[in-house]
Symmetry: C2
Subunit: 128 residues, 2 copies
């Protein structure tokens, strides 16, 4: 486990970028950050554990909403500063807005275009 | 154009993370950074233009190697701090090591496993 950490280049804040991609659709779901502990827990628990910069604490994805990301593959890029997680997105919702993924705004000639519907309202996701 | 920039949350260094994904295979190719000028040029030129943190200058992807990334879709995530480019990767090589993409190291029980062959040597890519 320590060997993996040695090859990861954490930034000045002790964080590394982590992209999550759906193992089935190959959609890019989200991008978040991990500290060393989050990396270790992700590998140990075989589910995505991030570090929340706003809350300054570990963030087990899906802990509240149930939308856990089960790990299929943990890859590191050539220069060691970006992780790519291939995951099974339980519930099919990765975004806190209740959409399948976070990249629902697309640049068009008329400004941003919203191209994903909300599957479940945030209220329903977090208060059930 | 300015409208797009207004919605992007650049970090303290004036940068935003940008993920490139292949429009055909849906493989995640790489992650790099953009400043405001790189964002503007990417949208204007319809090709990926990044900001190289090591060289501290604009980096028109493929300028030296020919491995240009033609833009198909420019998406922004829910909190505005990550861009997802859907691109056509000219030459099929996104990584400076000569591989199809940068995520060729996978965590396994026996350490990192290399799971992509080099398509073209870096020497051949940059010196031709």
């Amino acid at each position: 486990m320590n060997d993996f950490l040695n090859d990861i280049k954490f930034n000045e804040q002790g964080l590394v970028a982590a992209i999550a991609q759906c193992v089935h659709s190959k959609d890019v779901l989200m991008m978040a950050w991990m500290n060393a502990e989050a990396v270790t827990l992700t590998l140990q628990e075989q589910r995505a554990v991030y570090y929340s910069r706003s809350r300054q604490s570990l963030w087990r994805k899906g802990e509240q909403s149930g939308n856990v990301q089960k790990l299929h593959r943990f890859a590191l890029d050539c220069d060691g500063d970006t992780i790519l997680l291939t995951v099974e997105q339980v519930g099919g919702i990765a975004c806190h807005t209740g959409r399948g993924n976070c990249f629902y705004k697309t640049a068009s000639d008329n400004g941003w275009q919203i191209n994903q519907n909300v599957i479940k309202s945030p209220k329903a996701m977090y208060n059930e």
